[in-house]
């Protein structure tokens, strides 16, 4: 009897315990698992919150992407500073160099004789890339600096029209620019492989500061550098640009933000490099521009700046006129 009583008491206690445990649980299971935004963000370590959408647009499934904040910081601050320092800094350096050293003259004067440096295909391709690049650069710079510099000058309507045409030009000129880069690579890569002559040229500082003329082949180390900046830098800028040109066909929004960052930074650095290239090709050096206009450069200029190339050219010219020694020309006796 007492045993039974104890068992009944125990059962009562246990069931009572069970009841209290049930009473402690929330009335509705809805609130049991938290779906709070901050907790979810913490679980995702600040990553993108994605879900499922019933509309047929996959990218709409991204609910909150915090990376936009970093991209905003990059676009509004980082890129503006990088671009400002690179472009203005380079212009400052070039102005200073011009003020101190002045124009680099042909030391031995114009010879009056010229030789072909770039053929028509090379020149046409160069100017296709160059003209595309200038418009691409200006329309690109406009997207970063235009609203601070141009918008107050020409007003919102004028600036919007200009920027719209700039954007259209930027999108379409990407194609001739890229084509030109490929042709450039094929035409000039054989003369742009770094070699031992370049080391000596770089050690002499290209002669920019000492005034001498270190030996150089068809392209000196500085020009080789410009070539590789154009081909590799331009290639990456073009590739990242195409990602932006065809949104969501290659990558999602994170990839597009990254592409824009790569595109923007490299483009700013390339603009700075090309300013130096334009300077030395025009104002900075006597006789240099002829290479890309008529294609023919002065003999003395060539001897000073590209001694090894001139030797090669002269040897080749001699070979084409006189037969190599050891072989008697017919009827020479």
């Amino acid at each position: 009897m007492t045993k039974r009583l104890i068992v009944a008491l125990l059962a009562l206690m246990l069931s009572a315990g069970g009841v209290t445990a049930q009473a402690q649980a929330p009335a509705s299971p809805r609130g049991q698992v938290s779906a709070e935004e901050l907790e979810l963000q913490r679980a995702l370590q600040g990553g993108r919150i994605e879900g499922r959408v019933s509309i047929p647009d996959r990218k709409a499934a991204s609910l909150i992407q915090p990376e936009g904040r970093e991209w905003r910081q990059f676009h509004n601050s980082t890129l503006t500073w990088i671009g400002g320092i690179a472009v203005l800094g380079m212009l400052g350096i070039l102005a200073l160099f011009y003020a101190v050293k002045g124009r680099i003259r042909i030391s031995s004067g114009w010879s009056g004789r010229s030789l072909l440096r770039f053929n028509l295909l090379e020149r046409a391709n160069h100017w296709m890339v160059a003209s595309s690049f200038i418009i691409l650069a200006l329309s690109g710079l406009n997207l970063t600096f235009g609203r601070y510099l141009l918008l107050p000058l020409i007003g919102p309507e004028g600036f919007a029209t200009l920027s719209l045409w700039g954007k259209v030009a930027h999108n379409y000129l990407a194609f001739p620019f890229t084509l030109g880069l490929v042709v450039m690579l094929l035409l000039w890569i054989k003369d742009n492989i770094p070699d031992r002559v370049d080391l000596a040229w770089l050690k002499a500082g290209g002669g920019f500061f000492t005034g001498g003329h270190p030996a150089a082949g068809r392209f000196n180390a500085g020009q080789k550098l410009i070539f590789w900046i154009t081909v590799l830098g331009g290639g990456i800028v073009a590739a990242s640009g195409y990602v932006l040109l065809f949104p969501f066909s290659v990558t999602d929004i994170a990839g597009q933000q990254l592409s824009h960052i790569v595109h923007g930074v490299l483009a700013m650095l390339m603009i700075a490099a090309m300013l130096a290239h334009i300077y030395i090709g025009t104002l900075g050096m006597e006789g240099a521009l002829d290479a890309m206009t008529t294609g023919r450069v002065d003999y003395n200029w060539a001897r000073e700046h590209h001694s090894l190339w001139v030797e090669d050219e002269l040897n080749r010219a001699r070979d084409s006129v006189a037969p190599p020694s050891g072989i008697k020309a017919a009827g020479a006796d």
């Binding site: 779906a35 991204s62 970063t144 918008l151």
Partner: protein
């Protein structure tokens, strides 16, 4: 003036997508664009919630901050709008927006995306209020008629609230206190740098 905001009570949203449909219809939204959408997180798992999301009309809006032609403006009701006559369709606002609100009518056409389109809080655009020109470019201007955005007005469970931020926050607070749980005012921390504390 009121500080207009959206608040989606995710514990009430039943993912009926009526807000999406109503928005498309009321504003004659172009093909392929959904100014509002319903995203379900933790789908089929514990903690599943649906959240109706559109442009949140942020304080210090990222879209306006990055726009290269400065085509955004904020109305007296703190609604973030943009001028499609100035927009060049560059896509920058889309990269910066945390909520994926800016969309373009022509996505894959050599980057010629067309003018950006996003939720206007049913407040039209810079054109004269309630003119055909305004409707064609931006859709309805219910705010000028003294009405709130249609998505929130017709929400059957009243999950989506629109109106002055303080008023909708107090409604939400009362709900959470009464029922004892709430998954928070989604997007508020990101959009308004504040949240509804219960």
């Amino acid at each position: 003036m009121a500080r207009m905001k959206f608040l989606c009570d995710a514990d009430r949203c039943i993912e009926c997508n009526a807000c999406v449909t109503a928005c498309k219809n009321e504003n004659d939204v172009p093909w392929g664009i959904n100014r509002r959408r319903v995203v379900t997180i933790n789908d089929g798992k514990p903690g599943e919630r649906s959240i109706s999301m559109a442009c949140m009309h942020c304080t210090d809006a990222p879209c306006a901050a990055v726009c290269p032609v400065s085509c955004f403006y904020t109305t007296a009701d703190a609604v973030v709008l943009h001028d499609k006559d100035l927009c060049i369709g560059c896509g920058y606002c889309f990269y910066a927006c945390p909520f994926g609100a800016p969309q373009y009518p022509r996505v894959g056409n050599f980057g010629g995306r067309g003018k950006m389109d996003k939720c206007t809080y049913c407040a039209g655009g810079p054109q004269q209020d309630n003119t055909p020109a305004e409707y064609a470019q931006y859709g309805a201007n219910r705010l000028a008629e003294g009405k709130l955005p249609l998505c929130a007005e017709m929400c059957s469970t009243k999950a989506l609230l629109a109106g002055d931020g303080e008023i909708i926050a107090s409604i939400y607070k009362e709900r959470v206190q009464r029922r004892g749980y709430g998954s928070g005012a989604w997007g508020w921390r990101t959009a308004y740098r504040e949240t509804v504390t219960v």
